[in-house]
């Protein structure tokens, strides 16, 4: 039972979300659903990142009344993964937005949201 810590639970959830996202990305035929799958995949990764950076019984890396300036490094979790997650979220957002605009363009041209209709180039 020792393994069921907050960190491990979030890690497991993160991986689960990644897998769900991948599943959606790989199996759904609808373009929008694929994008959603991707967004899930991305979110899962973010959860994993945060959970990796988490240290038991510590607080958020913000220096305020709860955190003493001098003892900060022992009280807060590692701030870097969190900073990374922020950046990653921004990038993920960018990619998702770009994907959606692609879907839009594709739909405008062919009036179809089925990915199997977009196989003009192959081999």
């Amino acid at each position: 039972m020792e393994n069921i810590t907050l960190q491990n639970i979030s890690l497991a959830i993160g991986i689960l979300v990644i897998l769900i996202g991948l599943w959606g990305l790989l199996t759904q035929k609808n373009l929008i659903k694929i994008v959603i799958g991707f967004a899930l995949f991305d979110t899962g990764i973010h959860i994993v990142m945060v959970s990796i950076g988490y240290i038991k019984n510590r607080t958020a890396p913000i220096i305020d009344s709860a955190v003493d300036m001098n003892n900060a490094s022992n009280l807060v979790v590692d701030p870097i993964p969190q900073a990374l997650v922020l950046t990653a979220i921004v990038i993920g957002l960018g990619i998702t937005a770009l994907m959606l605009s692609y879907v839009l363009k594709m739909y405008q041209k062919k009036k179809s949201l089925d990915i199997t209709n977009y196989k003009d180039l192959k081999w």
Binding site: I18, L22, L25, L26, T27, L31, I34, F38, F41, D42, I45, V48, M49, I52, G53, I80, P81, L84, T87, A88, I91, G94, I95, L98, M99, S101, Y102, V103, K105, M106, K109, K110, I115, T116, Y118, K119, D120, L121, K122, W123
Partner: protein
Amino acid sequence: MVGPIYIIAIALGTAFSLGFFKNANRNISFSLMFLAMAFLTFISGQWLYAFLTQQQETIQIFTAGFKPPFSISLQMGFHEAVFLTMINSLGLLSAIYLFDHLREKGVNMMMVFMLLFMGLNVVVMTRDIFNLFVFLEISSIALVGLIILEKKQDAISSGFKYLIASGVISGILLIGIVATYYYSGSLYINDLISANLSLVKGGSVAVFLIMIAVILELKPFPANGWALDVYQSVNAGIGPIISGGIATASLFILYKLLPIGGDAWLLPIGITGVISFLGSNFLGIKQKSSNRILAYSSISQVGLLMIIMSLSTSLGDKFEFVFFSVLISQYLAKAGLFWIAGIINKDEIDDWNILKKSPGLIVLVGIFMFTLLGLPPFPAFYGKWELIMNLSQSGNFVWVGIILLGSLFEAIYLLRWFGKILIKQDNLEDLKIKFHKLIPVIFVSFAILLFSYLTAKWSGLIGIKYYIPFIIALLIFAFDFLPVFIKNIAAISTVAWYSYVLIYQTYIPENDILRIVFGSIFLIGAIIMLIPGFTFKGKRQGFYPLVILMFSGLAGLIEARTTFQFFFAWEIMTLASYLLIIRGKNAVKPSFNYILFSMAGAFTMFAGFGLAFAETGSISLNALADVLVYANWAYALIAIGFLVKIAAFGVHIWLPSSYAEADDDVTSMISAILIKSGVFGLIILMLSMSLKNAVSPNIPYVLGWIGAIGALIGNMMAIYQEDVKKLIAYSSIGIMGYILFALSMMSHMGWLTAFTYSIVHFLYKGLLFLAIAGVIYRTQTRNIYEMGGLIKRMPLSFISVLIGIITLAGMPPLAGFAGKWMFYNAVIMKGWYLQGAIVFFSGIVAFLYCFKLIHNIFLGPLKDNHRKLKEASIWWLIPQFILIIGIMVISVYPKIVVEPIGQYLSMYFPNDGLVWDGTTASTRLGYWDATKIMTVFAGMFGVLFIILYSMSRKTQLVEQFNIVFQGERPERPETTHYAHNMYAPYNKALGFLTAPFITSAWKFVYESIHSISDQVRKFYTGNGQTYAMHIIIYVVVFYLFINGGF
């Protein structure tokens, strides 16, 4: 020096400030962007210059005032400078190329363009792994942004595939980065390297995730469908950015992160590269779309670079040379081809013959393709040489095989494409070329030439002398506007000067008979065969540079002292002759056969040299003699290369049609001269290897049989040909069979025969082809049955052909008999009776086509449309009569040629030579006195002629149709010319011998490869999800492989 940090500042600043312009004034915004790009190029270029000339030290730039790992640091070292210069100058050229496109699409596109290059710059420079991730993403987003702005249906759907795939890959990378951080506590690459993560429990997974993501960014085969589709669909201006910019940057990422993985990752990366190289090239051969071909080629080249990278430790200080020579060639050539594809704007390679409208572009395409193929003098050649030598030395023979096989596949599709460009077709559309699109292409081609020179110098493998022919060829090319007459004189005097230097000044004092003989055949032969060039009118553009290159290649063979020089010259000669052949009217397909066989032969030769190097560690030609362990393999592999060139049985099928379709004077050059290069090579090989007993005697034995069968089949085929040039071409196969047979006897007499045959074959084959060419020039047909009776119109040509066939058939008293006589002696001394009998039989079969040749062309009734023909031009006749003089001298007085050769051979084969007593030559078997025989024959002939003449002085010359024809007078010459299908009964009895087994067999191989390739490539379904699936499977398989799951 401008600090590298300004690259980011300027690029970012420009990108944002472009936003202010909206679409108000696109010229200004374009100029701004162009200036920014130029400044980027300048910065990176100046750093490169500093590293190259001033021993600049690598510098680190720390942002935000902290040292890493607490801040992001950038690094500017030599490698960074090279990569940045490459990427930024590509950006600059792309901007020029895309000038109208960018203006049309507006500032949005310019911004994205700028961002893309900023991203790539940071990717190269950064030393922070998360930063790397971020800017990698920025570049991908920018690329996809460029694609969506294209507003093309294909491009958009493939861009979406790209997004899915790169999303998955970046997810993997991100997890890997975080995991790495978790285990090492740092994001600074230098820390990661020193952390030795692979040894930490769990750390190896982190490293795996990072490495696999980086590998996937390189689009390894087969997880690369997404990239292929993008390559194919995007605007031609963006293709080079992907292949030359993004792929180059990705390679640098791998290079940068490779130390994290440590040495354990070298092998997997090498294997990935091998699979990528072979697989992509294999699938490339079935492609029809030019952009997709380039895509496959890009990916295969990246595979090759991965192989090189994986060998970084064993290549040692040669690593940089090999890596950059291949990388830069691929980068320049690929960009050039993509740009030309954009200029043509035709996706199907079948439509590329529109380029016929602008020959200059064809030259450029040629340069780019040969650069990609790694042919000399282009830079990748040197790199590939070092690579293969190194691989062989470390015993990776399988890799050598795979790389060479992959290169052959690459040659198949690139050269077929090149051929399609040259296919003649009427009613071509006009080709509109925008000048600004041409600038980058021309710039790149010059860069290639410059870089070729630099690599050659850097390699240290060849001396300054080797540039001379290229300079001369370039000079002649520059003066290509001059008329043929002047260029021909220039070419002849160049060759004459060189043969004076080479033969008279170098080898005659050294008394190196082998090189004197072949040097004379190659160079003096060249002078003789160039004389007919005076008949051509106009400019004959491109002909003379190639001729000079071909003959310089031949001279290079003579001069070569190392295997590298030999191979260099060999490839130059092959390439130049290929280009000469392809100039013929319908020569595209035959020349393709020629170059494919030649390339395959050259590659086996390459592998053989590699084996020899692996054992002796020396590239000296003499060191071949010291090969002991691999002697059989090396010998056989090298020999195959030469066998292809002399069209030995089994690999002969390229020859007839190539000869037939080449220009007429080219045919005589290649048939009389070029083909001897294979003989020369065999002699060099046998002298150094066969004599040392390390080589199994079975190999020469097999070669002997190949020669004998080749002689029979060649001659048998020749008698059924109706195309006169094919007839002589098949006869060449036969004669080369004799020579191969004679050489493989490995005895004094055998070799004497081979030498004599080489000389005599040069004389009479040149004579025959020249005479026939003169006839074809007049009659305008190659069909032998459409000629006839031309003795009345072209008596001098008739004399040439008569002497030619008498010599060919080996009848006394002319020189051909010398060969036959020595042959008998050699065979009986050697004891190869059965093979010998086959060879003699084929020698007699030669009579049939000799007679066919002279009868169908010159005898029989004259055809109506030939009644007013003139004798062949004097320029065709002069060389013929020079050759006839040569034949006559050797016929009357063979001693002057045969005796020195015999003395030379005595050094190697001291026993059973030819003994000269006056003019009588004797062996322990028989004797022969050519001078006396000639005297007796001439006397007898004279007496009989006088008798006949004196008894029939009043002979009346009758009209053509005045013959005993069953009381009738034939109406048309065609009805009395027994010419077509002349040897029908022979065919009926022995036709089975000439069934095209070999051709069918090769065709089967060729087509099987194509259909397999066609089937295999179907796994690229075109569905983005499948591609993502490929990536996942690739990762899993790779993981299992790394961890011993297999």
